[in-house]
């Protein structure tokens, strides 16, 4: 086999690593550590269609009429039973956050590990998107 692959580290490597470091730092500066201060609620979409709006301060869940059979609300728990699959969402009204606790999607169930602080939670196989809303947005929707 060719000799070019014998060494694990060559001089120009440093250039590659520095370039990557720069990219990572830039990304962190633009996106990284922001946490939404004014979270007022969130929207739940399936397949890019709005099916429910949550309001944290009023502790209310507003479900669009046509989708009332898909969304089951019982106290702090919202269960979604769409044609794509099942997801269980637990709402913490006091801390103004939501979390997906159960899902029957594939193997890795990434939605359960997503952080609402980032502003968005996605269950890709179920086309489920939960977006956070800031307080002023909620007022306009009402």
């Amino acid at each position: 086999m060719e000799n070019s692959f014998k060494k694990p580290f060559k001089k120009l490597d440093i250039l590659v690593y520095i370039l990557l470091l720069v990219i990572v730092v830039l990304l962190f500066l633009f996106a990284g550590l922001e946490k939404e201060e004014n979270v007022g609620g969130c929207e739940i979409y399936i397949d890019n269609r709005l099916i429910a709006i949550l309001n944290f301060s009023e502790k209310s869940v507003d479900v669009e009429d046509e989708y009332k059979n898909v969304v089951l609300v019982s106290g702090d728990i919202i269960e979604i039973n769409s044609s794509y699959g099942y997801n269980k969402i637990v709402v913490d009204y006091n801390n103004k956050t939501v979390k997906v606790t159960e899902a029957d999607c594939g193997f890795s169930k990434e939605c359960k590990h997503m952080d609402f602080d980032r502003g968005i939670i996605i269950c890709a196989p179920h086309k489920l998107v939960i977006k956070s809303l800031i307080k002023s947005d909620i007022v306009i929707i009402k």
Partner: protein, 179 residues
Amino acid sequence: MKSKRIALLGVLTTLSIIMFLIESLFPPLIIPGAKLGLGNIFVMLTLIYLDLPSGIVLVLAKCLISAMFGGFSALIYSLPAGLCSLFACYFLLKLKSKISIIAISAPLGTLHNLVQNVVFCLVTKSIKVLLYAPYLALLGVLCGVFTGFVTFLLVNKFSLILINKFKINEIQEDESGTI
């Protein structure tokens, strides 16, 4: 000699599919969407021992067959990411005299994760998805270095086995491709 190339490609493709299935059993690595990217090992091996068309076949076959297990909706994410890192790998390998395998593999991991993130953003029409990008990029570099190291070990040990036992250096010499 073409049959040897096809057989080798078959083995590499199967291994990368198995790797994908094993990886999907792991919970997400800290950040959702960040995978160990062990499949990239086989992309690199294909581009080193075979050629670009074989690499394209590997990525397409791997994505399609993996979709049969994990759901076809995953194709919008895995295909662009896989093809982008394949072509990036192809171009980076041209510089192999100046950069080591590990440094070639590091950007591949980052690119794969970032492309998936961008596709997520386009599919959900929400820019907030990009907030995960920095963490994905950082993890991509770390995983890329890891897979690069594994590939490095494989290329240096595997080569000897391939050449001595299976006389696979004949694959490289035969450019005409006749059977």
